[in-house]
Symmetry: C2
Amino acid sequence: MKTKPYYAVIFTTTRTEGDHGYEEMAQRMDELAKKQPGYIGVESARSELGITVSYWENLEAISKWKENSEHTLAREMGREKWYSWYKLRVCLVEREYEFTK
Amino acid sequence: MKTKPYYAVIFTTTRTEGDHGYEEMAQRMDELAKKQPGYIGVESARSELGITVSYWENLEAISKWKENSEHTLAREMGREKWYSWYKLRVCLVEREYEFTK
């Protein structure tokens, strides 16, 4: 099925030990992201790796979210305290399929 | 950082109750995918949602993997037994950033 193109930001992480305010920040970032123009949704899971995929209408929406001051601070804290490694990929969603039982 | 474009297949799922041979199949599919031409890697996590992102050199590699007969059978089993919902997105990775502490 061909859909209107939109963007996915795949954020894959490995955490450091302990919380250090991480859960509170993660919840706050979820709330803030939802209010951004062009936000579509988010999907998250964590096992050994954490994977959070956020979906956006266009690249401008992703840039604006990146420039958000609280989000900028959270990213700094992330590098200082919460993540031992991460990889962030900005992707154009070209096709999608959905199945519901 | 601009990298050579490649593809991400984001497979987001909700499981049915019980295993029903799922773990064995998941492991087998990991092994098979690794042998496919154009395979780059995979990242997986599961909480309430499962998210598996596989990375591929191009769309042809994704098509060939889709056509693999064992994989086709596994997808049928997935719809019959293992998943109550899934969404699959084929995405062009346009940019990426990596952080290591």
